[in-house]
Amino acid sequence: MTIFRTNKRLVFRKEDEGAFLFDPDTGSLYCLNPTGAMVYERCQDGASYEDLLSTLVAGCEGVVEEEVRKDLKAFLEEMKERGFLIEG
């Protein structure tokens, strides 16, 4: 099972309405919305795609699971491409 982990070199800072991700090596500052912040936070101790999906589905009443699945995949892909999440 694939586990997603956060890049420990980044600074993750929670705010009332989401979170910041800051890369001190490049100066990149990235804003996460509350859902993105929650997913990223879950990955701090390592989380599988299935774990993340079930957490999101449970927390989003009335949404179509397929939509959540699609959004989560896109989010994880983007985080991996940017080097914010590490797979393995």
Binding site: V11, E15, D16, F20
Partner: protein, 362 residues
Amino acid sequence: MKAKGRDFKVLSAPLEVFLSITNRCNLGCGHCSVSSSPSPGPGELTTKKWLDLVGEMEDMKVFTVRISGGEPFCHPDLFTILERIIRGSMRVSINTNATLIGREEARALKGMAPWIDDVMVSLDGSTPQVHDRLRGEGSFERAMRGMEALLSEGLPVSLYTTVVRYNWRDLEGIILLARKMGISGVKFNELIPMGRGLDHYRELSLDPEERRTVLSIVKDLKEDYDGFVAGTYVDLLEIMASVEASDGDLSLNTCSAGTTEIAVRPDGWVVPCDRLYGYRVGNVREKGLGEIWHHSDRLNRFRERFQLTVDDLSGCMGCRYRHGCGGGCPAVPYNLGRGMMSRDPLSCYRILKGEEGFSIDG
């Protein structure tokens, strides 16, 4: 019913902290905004206290730090402070006159280069004749040597020029020099009436006609050297365009002061930004920076400004140019003793257009 300004939420911590680590400076410029002195000012924080503060900033997850002074290279432990900042996963920028930077200092900075965003050098002319008139004899040559040392070690260097009566004809010369040297950009900023700059304001500031000419010059330079020119003159051009289009609302500008940034003076007093040097909101000798950020009554009162509109400023209510004006910078009227809820005469479109005059006397 009065219009309401923007909604505003306080972040968990500032994104950037401005640290004036000493008031000491080896120059004595008449336009200095902080009235620097040849020796450290009274009650300056010890290096240990600065290091403790940086540790707290790391815990707060501050992202960037701007080091200034006085002249930061006058501080005997500058490099110790810089190393601690970088070890705390923060990036750093430095404001300097560059005259104390030699090969040794540049080499020491090179080791930190991946985490240095900018070394911003104050240069007020492209020749010794212009620069030294403002900064003292020999300072141009020393600044040039310092910048060359920085650039030869691959450090990112930008320029900061305070535009005054003696150098406004030299702005393109400064750009050409900067581009030849490999400098990343130039800020052309107005003289702010504060510190020694207030004492010398009559002598140094531009008259209304010169000011309008400078705005026109900066507009042309911005077009000719795209992406290279910034600063408060460029900000002013944007305000003018917004006012002329009358397309903005009445909200006051939300600037970085107390919203994304905070500043700490050499004596530990915390102020919303380096321009509001006298508006003390707490002292890091007595309280943590986080406590001041969240719970200082004075800081929270200052932030209430961002929820107001231009109509709340004295001198602005009913002005026909108030749409899109934003109310300028609160530091200017504050430093002139008029209070923060007065109009900013340096951003006022009526004054820029020549419909009204401006005097620091009132």
